[in-house]
Point group: C2
Chain length 168, copies 2
DNA sequence: TTGAATTTTCAATAGTTTTTGAAAATTTTA
DNA sequence: TAAAATTTTCAAAAACTATTGAAAATTCAA
């Protein structure tokens, strides 16, 4: 396979992958393009490579910056802004975990804490069933939260080494 | 908070949560409703509780069955079909992990294996950069794949006990 | 069998999300 | 400061996804 084709395949499948994870296709494609680009890119580079409008590039690069996955780079002597992606994939994964934990897991756990204190007779089947499920999710969720905290702090070596040994 | 309100909140936030994970809102809501229902439900029960059409219930229950999260139940002497959800939340999580691994991670890894063998001079900056990223993702992906395999086979006690100790 | 009950299908519609592109705002250079 | 280059915004349009509901198919009891 030639590089041009491989590049297209990578970008397109990274985009499809992203949609399964609640990330919009274009944002994931821009990220993919930037991951494999050795040098920083401008808005125009991205527009051209992916055939999308300037507005689209602007919105999605901003969002990627919010996620902490790319950053603006000013090249000395250049008028245009450049963008550059974090290339260490373990750092990328940790950053995504960190953000999603904050945006999704933590609010959910807050809600579950409230829902567990629902009024009503715990001998009633409906009430009992509700509390059991909520408590179960809460317990596992808090556990996952702690585990992910540790992961976010960890080095890749630690993950690939120690954890995997344990899992064997 | 009263049970009725707590129920609504749980269903609605589980639905919103689902959309962040590439699952459609209604499918997640049906799943939520069934998790907290002590007894199996019919299509009509679900239609009424969530105010959605029969067709919608039918499609989404089928999809939940494909995901292995609910099952059809025949109650003796009853004409209608009932549906019942797996209530053990650890089993639910493992089932979701298993499915997503099969649907998303494994195809991605297959593609990466191909992309790593891209033609071209590895001294060229573009080619080098491409191979480095692809190899990095591949390596971490295969590691994650193995780890998830072990998790899918594990008991909850194992997870909450051993893993967490290690993570402290 | 028959026909009533129930489930399934799917074309049409409604709703949501993404993308465009041109105008406005901002930044930089001279 | 002026004006050229660049970035940002956002209303409108396009694209995509989910939902409805009625007709078709299936199942079941008698």
């Amino acid at each position: 396979m030639k590089l041009a084709e491989a590049k297209q395949q990578f970008i397109s499948s990274w985009g499809a992958f992203g949609t399964h994870w609640g990330i919009n296709r274009t944002m994931a494609q821009i990220h993919a393009l930037m991951l494999i680009s050795p040098d920083p890119l401008t808005q125009d580079d991205i527009m051209e490579e992916l055939n999308i409008s300037r507005g689209n590039v602007n919105m999605n690069t901003r969002e990627l910056i919010n996620w902490g996955l790319i950053e603006r780079v000013i090249l000395p002597g250049e008028r245009k802004e450049y963008f550059s992606a974090e290339k260490d994939i373990w750092k990328v994964v940790k950053q995504i975990v960190k953000e999603r934990k904050k945006r999704e897991l933590e609010p959910m756990l807050k809600l579950l804490d409230q829902l567990e204190n629902v009024e009503g007779d715990k001998k009633e089947k409906k009430v009992k069933s509700f509390i059991e499920i909520v408590s179960g999710i809460k317990k596992l969720g808090h556990q996952a939260d702690k585990t992910l905290d540790t992961m976010v702090k960890a080095e890749e070596n630690w993950f690939v080494g120690n954890l995997i040994k344990l899992f064997k």
